[in-house]
């Protein structure tokens, strides 16, 4: 089995078990302020890191290219409360446009 399939299956099983655990364990088991805070802050740190890496990384180097324009357009779209799909499409279109110019 390819490494990609292994990753797909590990993620599938793991994500389901994470959901099921929440519905199944007594609240007291995970009801610790530190656990709650860390689990709550994880998405913030990870999503921000994913934004940064997706926009600035090219292999092992950091670059400024059309993706930064796409991100800037996404910020403006989000400030105007545009729906998700519109934000993503505008970012893609603006980056594609910059590359054409």
């Amino acid at each position: 089995m390819s490494a990609l399939w292994v990753a797909v299956i590990v993620t599938s099983v793991g994500c389901y078990l994470l959901k099921l655990t929440g519905l199944s364990v007594p609240e007291a088991v995970l009801e610790h302020p530190l656990v709650e805070r860390v689990a709550d802050l994880l998405p913030v740190a990870l999503l921000a890191a994913l934004v940064a890496v997706q926009v600035f990384a090219d292999g092992q180097s950091l670059v400024l290219d059309a993706r930064l324009v796409g991100l800037a357009v996404a910020v403006v779209a989000l400030l105007f409360r545009a729906p998700f799909l519109v934000v993503v499409l505008l970012a893609a279109a603006s980056a594609a446009l910059v590359r054409l110019l």
Binding site: S12, L18, S24, L30, V38, V44, A49, P83
Partner: protein
């Protein structure tokens, strides 16, 4: 046993809101499907992710790390860390929904941002269940149909850079993060997470920088001690949820 029912008007309103959120959230499965196949996964793998993982941020994280050249397992690790917030949602939902047996196993798959937002803050168990199920099922059906559509369409796009799809990934993550950035502490954590990741890009294998940013969350959780007002998604945070 008496069978409780909701007033028809209330029930209709809850289901209508759930379907509206489902349409808005589900359709962005198109971008997931298209980006996934241009990141190196095939249509099958892409559709299995939407069917079985069924939590957007984790799915985008997996294909994002793989697309950036990271190892599939570091992508899976990032996806699982992101999926851990669904455990917290489940903890809050369990006493509200109070399902047991096979219903609980089935309901677990639908525990996501949207269904949680539309179930908490209801004033009865039946209303909470109706909000959870209508939203969860609407998102599930549309998210999977849209994924298939995007994956099949994405195969014909060729080089993802031509259409700016590489820029779309960063925008997708930002849109997922956006509702959380109203809070000052979250802004600091986000900035530090991004800085740690960028600092590590030149010196570590792809995939590692994002995982390392998880350390920022751990440290911030140990240092700070107050609750986060944006911890649970609000109706207004959802695409299509702020229409009232």
């Amino acid at each position: 046993m008496t069978v409780e029912t909701l007033p028809p008007g209330e029930r209709r309103a809850i289901v209508r809101d759930g379907v509206a959120v489902g349409i808005a959230s589900g359709t962005y499965g198109i971008s997931f499907g298209a980006i996934s196949v241009t990141s190196g996964l095939d249509v099958w793998q892409t559709c299995v992710l939407s069917l079985l993982v069924f939590t957007g941020a984790s799915q985008f994280a997996l294909i994002g790390v793989i697309g950036a050249g990271g190892s599939p397992l570091s992508g899976a690790a990032t996806a699982l860390l992101l999926g851990s917030r669904n455990t917290l949602y489940g903890l809050r939902l369990a006493p509200l929904l109070a399902w047991t047996g096979w219903r609980r196993f089935a309901a677990a798959q639908l525990v996501i941002d949207e269904s949680t937002a539309m179930a908490i803050n209801r004033d009865s168990r039946l209303a909470a269940r109706t909000g959870f199920l209508s939203t969860g099922l609407a998102v599930f059906v549309l998210w999977n149909l849209a994924t298939l559509l995007g994956a099949v369409g994405g195969r014909s796009l060729g080089d993802p850079r031509t259409f700016g799809l590489d820029a779309a990934v960063g925008a997708a993550f930002l849109a997922l993060l956006w509702p959380r950035l109203r809070d000052r502490r979250n802004q600091v954590v986000a900035a530090l997470g991004a800085a740690v990741a960028l600092g590590l890009v030149p010196v570590t294998a792809a995939g590692v920088p994002v995982l390392a940013a998880g350390g920022v969350a751990l440290l911030a959780g140990i240092i700070s001690s107050r609750d986060d007002p944006t911890e649970y998604p609000e109706h207004d945070d959802l695409p299509g949820g702020g229409h009232r």
